[in-house]
Symmetry: C2
Subunit: 788 residues, 2 copies
């Protein structure tokens, strides 16, 4: 049943909206005279006008109406501001409702506060133009477009009492991630999850073009959103009185339908409801200047940024600005002290119901520690190095299963993946949790249910975005993905890292759980898939981000993966990237050894080397499971052929340990680095990824000139696992040859040995092309030595 709010209420809402618009324009333009107590002068205007008006009046309109419905229904609403540059509106509204001054007491609710509020916006030392971490009530910056809706769904999961009102701009609605995100409603339980109320805001224009969706007829839009599974409600126009009436009615209708859906879902939890959404067509730059210099501005892309731009130097422009600001009638909105008038202030909700004060938007305050089992209980028994075989991710899967179990009652942990949870050998989680699925099911389906802990969809964008929304609202998660395809979310990763960097610097933002990636089905084991699935470069991207934020782990076996996975789940405000294989592989370390090794981040594997305390002739270093295997196999070849050669084996788990401590907090000291890698011995380093990464991490170290790094050099196809290493010259034979050649006196005396190793490569080539599998001596190789 739609409620028709009375006209008096709507007149108040209109005034509230005008106040928000006034404050938005003030932020973009003014550095003084905030209440226009005197005629506007050049020096009141900022010298550099940086801000975006176009989207703002619509955002303010929606905010005001959400305030009404929150108060009317005591609703718990989180506002996601999708459009870029929505900052002025979000700041204005959180200021009007009192949140802003609570969070930032230096911006008080008076004229001085208004002046400071205006001045700080897009001003050196001030705040950005987006709904950034600095903005109370925000979990979504909107600087890069397309992720509003997927963040909204992430916030709604496991928050059954929450309504996430998500404003989707018609610019961002053209992006791929947004276009896919509409289907998130197939993954939302009407019983145990919250509600997402999308508000598609069609203001018609992006930077310099109309938007696609705004230029479709309503009938086509209705088909589109019905097809996406929604029940669209249209609100269209520009006349404010009619628009207030229609928007109020639309929100009443939407909230009525939501209530009805929730009531019905108790009986039929698996029936996918047709959730309401609102399509709001309103002019871009609504209530702004109609025309500037003879050109249409309101309801045109020309209102996108600063509609009238030369307000310091051009009196006519300044007059337009002043008339525009006075059109909101500030005396009618603010009292003599510059405080919002009480009848308007009364329109905002109270306390935590204010959208700027929602605890969900500062998830750290809601976050509960994740319960984790004792990781050592899952350890693989390793009697001696190489004696046991295990699938590392399978072992981690058992651990994750019990993490799910331990936190089942809290409902605050989910596992995400692009249809790869089973493929990545994490199937144990299905012993305790289903995959979330609200579309049709068939009797032959496997662990699909309206409620579950595992989110699978063939979109890395959706996995990443859901997880971000889930974490930022105070929960925990784990994302497993094929290594090559995590690049799909490079830019989302960047934006999340930037969010965390800024959020960490704000004392009022409490820590959120880390974003944890497990990258598996990695570059070295793409037997089924070949070259298109081979790319280990995500960690290069990650390494560019601030050292406070990122960690990269390359555990060489199951027990080290267990330690790393357990560790990462217990951290906060970070992005942890773990790369580990899923195939059966030899195990090197006991759980105790794994623990010490991982705590150090890197270390000498005495049991594998031959230096006997005398110092090495050569260092064989490795990072990653396959490089570790090939390095140890190379060491075996060398030990057999050159029993007097003194070899040191170094393994690196925590890649950031290689960096100098001034570059990364995990970086080992130069003394330790020199002790481990020596200051002058050749280091043959077998690296999981692109070799350059190691060089850039160690270039400040004394022994860097002696580092010879092998890794993935973009050679690959569908072939055997060992052949992949040969193609990239990371295999045991190439490593052994390189070790010898880096010791010139030895190389000169052992041409036959080098020739024999090269002959092995020839034999491999012939064998693999004949038989389609690796030579038994490669395939069946095992580390033959006991612990020393």
């Amino acid at each position: 049943m739609a409620i028709d709010p009375d006209a008096g209420d709507l007149a108040l809402i209109d005034r509230y909206w005008r106040a928000a618009n006034y404050l938005s324009v003030g932020q973009i333009y003014l550095m003084d005279n905030p209440l226009l107590r005197e005629p506007l002068k050049a020096e009141h205007v900022k010298p550099r006008l940086l801000g975006h008006w176009g989207t703002t009046p619509g955002l303010n309109f929606i905010y005001a109406h959400l305030n009404r419905i929150i108060r009317a229904r005591d609703a718990d609403v989180l506002y996601i501001c999708g459009p870029g540059h929505g900052g002025p509106g979000m700041v204005a509204n959180t200021y009007l409702e009192g949140t802003y001054s609570q969070v930032y007491p230096e911006i008080g609710e008076d004229e001085a506060g208004l002046k400071a509020l205006f001045r700080q916006f897009s001003f050196p030392g001030g705040i950005p133009s987006h709904a950034a971490p600095e903005t109370p009530g925000s979990i979504h910056e909107g600087g890069e477009l397309g992720y509003a809706l997927v963040h909204a769904y992430g916030a709604a999961f496991d928050n059954p009492d929450l309504v996430v009102a998500c404003v989707v701009g018609d610019g961002e609605a053209e992006t791929g991630p947004l276009a896919a995100a509409w289907h998130s409603n197939k993954f939302l339980s009407p019983v145990s999850d919250g509600t997402v109320l999308p508000i598609l805001h069609l203001n018609g224009y992006k930077i310099a073009n109309p938007t696609v969706l705004a230029r479709l007829p309503d009938e086509e839009l209705a088909h589109l959103f019905t097809g996406y599974g929604y029940d669209p409600i249209f609100v269209e126009g520009h006349e404010s009185q009619a628009m207030h009436r229609d928007m109020a009615a639309a929100l009443d209708t939407a909230f009525d339908r939501i209530a009805a859906i929730r009531a019905a879902a108790k009986d039929e939890p698996a029936r996918r409801p047709r959730w309401p959404m609102i399509v709001l067509r309103s002019p871009k730059g609504w209530t702004g200047p109609k025309e500037v210099d003879g050109k249409v501005v309101e309801n045109h892309w020309r209102s996108h940024q600063v509609p009238v731009s030369e307000c310091r130097t051009n009196v006519a422009h300044r007059d337009i600005l002043e008339a525009w600001m006075r059109s909101y009638d500030p005396e009618d909105l603010f009292d003599a002290d510059g405080r919002l008038k009480p009848e308007l202030r009364a329109l905002a909700p109270m306390g935590a119901r204010r959208m700027g004060a929602s605890p969900h938007a500062n998830g750290g305050v809601l976050r509960k520690e994740l319960r984790t089992p004792d990781a050592t209980a899952y350890a693989v028994a390793v009697e001696r190095p190489g004696a046991a075989e295990a699938q590392a991710t399978k072992v981690l899967g058992d651990y994750l299963r019990d993490v799910i179990r331990l936190n089942a009652a809290e409902r605050n942990f989910r596992v995400f993946g692009p249809d790869e949870t089973a493929s990545n050998r994490l199937s144990s989680v299905f012993e305790v949790a289903d995959r979330v699925w609200m579309a049709e099911t068939l009797p032959t389906d496997d662990h699909l249910a309206p409620e579950g802990r595992v989110m699978e969809v063939l979109s890395e964008h959706l996995c990443q975005g859901w997880l971000e929304g889930y974490l930022l609202t105070g929960r925990h998660g784990f994302f497993s993905c094929y290594e090559a395809f995590i690049h799909i979310v490079d830019s989302m990763f960047n934006q999340h890292a930037k969010w965390l960097k800024v959020a960490r610097e704000l004392p009022w933002r409490k820590p959120v759980s880390s974003l944890n990636y497990l990258l598996t089905s990695h570059v070295w084991r793409q037997d089924h898939n070949g070259f298109s699935h081979q790319d280990p470069g995500f960690i290069d991207l990650v390494a560019n981000k601030g050292s406070d934020i990122v960690r990269v782990y390359l555990p060489p076996d199951a027990n080290t993966l267990l330690w790393v996975g357990d560790h990462c789940l217990k951290t906060w405000n970070r992005i942890n990237v773990i790369v580990a294989g899923k195939q059966p592989a030899p195990q090197w370390l006991t759980m105790d050894e794994a623990t010490s090794h991982c705590e150090a981040g890197l270390g000498i594997w005495d049991w594998a080397g031959t230096e006997e305390g005398l110092g090495p002739d050569i260092v064989m270093a490795c990072a990653g499971d396959v490089p570790t295997l090939e390095t140890l196999a190379a060491v075996d070849l060398l030990r057999r052929a050159l029993p007097h050669l003194r070899i040191r084996v170094v393994n690196v788990v925590d890649l950031m340990a290689l960096q100098s401590p001034q570059h990364h907090p995990h970086g080992v000291s130069d003394e330790d680095f020199d002790r481990i890698f020596t200051r002058d011995r050749p280091v043959v380093f077998a690296h999981h990824g692109y070799p350059y990464l190691i060089h850039r991490l160690v270039y400040k170290r004394a022994n860097h000139p002696n580092f010879h790094v092998r890794g993935f050099v973009e050679e690959g196809t569908t072939t055997t696992p060992f052949d992949m290493t040969v193609m990239n010259k990371l295999d045991r034979y190439h490593l052994a040859i390189e070790a010898i050649e880096r010791l010139p006196a030895l190389a000169e005396r052992k041409p036959d040995l080098i020739a024999a190793l090269k002959a092995k490569l020839d034999a491999h080539h012939a064998y693999v092309r004949e038989h389609g599998e690796d030579m038994p001596e490669v395939h069946d190789w095992k580390w033959p030595y006991a612990r020393q």
Copy 2:
């Protein structure tokens, strides 16, 4: 009008389909006994079964029916195979139609050829499992999912006689890029572009889950695709006779509607038609084993890869395989020599009408050289360094305008951008070309038309994918994008680079034009946007790719940008990345100087240095426009304060020139490098991007230990341009201080100078926070020296 093909035709098509299915299974499983002349033995089966059956029968079904309609209507059809791992089907079909043996004569049309065909698939030394570059008729690998439809549209632009039949898998249909790509129909002219016929293939499952779209009711799907602007035709079932009948009728209907649309468009070219599409619901793994080991396989995700897996060791499994292959009745399909029977061979189109032989799929054969104007005609006059000011991208825009003009008749050049062509100052192109737009228009719109040369949509994915499709079918293009957001297409870039690497190694694939990026609105000038828009890391990603493929240019001013832009447009089989600013900036080089400098890739700017042939005390190096400006301003500070200091200025345009020649063909020799950068002098290097990139490029050079690189270190927000450089310590004061401190004897004697420079930084901080703009002495600084 739908034509009902007679039953005899359909029976033949069914046999043709069986032949393709037989060859597909054979590729996945067999290395010998290809025609099952003898009972299947263990040794006939490949030791490692790598391949994907699930999607294949549907792809084969579609291919056979497209063959029918091509012959019936003499249609020119390009087949885009979206689903991953469609390789067996595409290879089988191009083999059946004779293309494969033409391209690869070693795979003949006889029993030996069949054996070789089977053996090579997913076998060391053989071919990958996707519709890779090795696959005739393919422009789309499908290894990473989601780009089929956007590639299809790119292929269709400016190809009015072409029908691009695009099979979209229901897995990839969950991805963001695919979800957005449906809207490409708002950018396709029914007069001057070709047709895209999407065939959404709902086989129901991905790797281990049902697919979202397959689990929506038809009614909802009909809404969705009507909303996307299509006219869907449903074909559903599993009974082959009925399915052949329905599919033939659906294609007849679709082609009738296409013809009607094209006829009508002549009168109403701006009216957006409702293009047909086909929704094909057929079982995953159709015609494969129904059950294996008691578990459902056909019509289930278990048929995704290898439905029956232990065929070498498990007799029951081998029996299933043999029965499955014999169910296609090979004797009924192939003659005694192993050649496809003539009545079946007659079903395939002839010559270039065969989809495997489409010249559009080997675009290099259709490619015509781009006509380019004389770039020097656009040169900015630079009387002396720093005397002129220009907007570099604006100058390039004038040049691009004339490229469009010169190639207007050929209609083979387009400019792509995510709503940023004007923002990136390339507006001159609108003097000669419109933006393509088939949605509604209004009188206030600006340069929107059904036909045009400029493609703008707020999706980097669509821009990139359209351009890739356009280039791979033999045309030319240019993509301008905000630097930070090009990361959105990191993974698409990776896939395109991989495609080019493999395609270059295939002699039958002719060169295609390079993919050219202009990254502007770059990290140093985000005055409006702040931290979320600051990321120069795309070039790091690019540098990881094979050196044959990638080039990175950082032109310091307009004339160097002109040279670089002109050069890139004339190259082929590469990915060129150009980073350049759009803001007014000082100009350094005349066109002649720019030409020599760019041809060398890097060089000493004698006019800026003070060494007078005596060799430098210090090298001030720079790459990128803002770093160059700050370096020269630092040099000015040093020249004033330290008239006896001998400074060398080095500018780098072509970043790959820094690499060793064994790592990149553009790398300068060690002799030249040492001559330019010296072997022992400190180098203060101001770099556009993350500083590590320079280290990894030069780590092999003799003077690397003396390189001190400054660049973007993830510090930023909305502030003044100069303050951005200060935050990242790339500004003139920090650079000058570093130069002095790298000369310890000098630093010891000049503590006052260092203190004075630091005081400038303090003054800057105070000024910018007070006034909101940069100090006049910074803002108005100009290079004060005449040429020497």
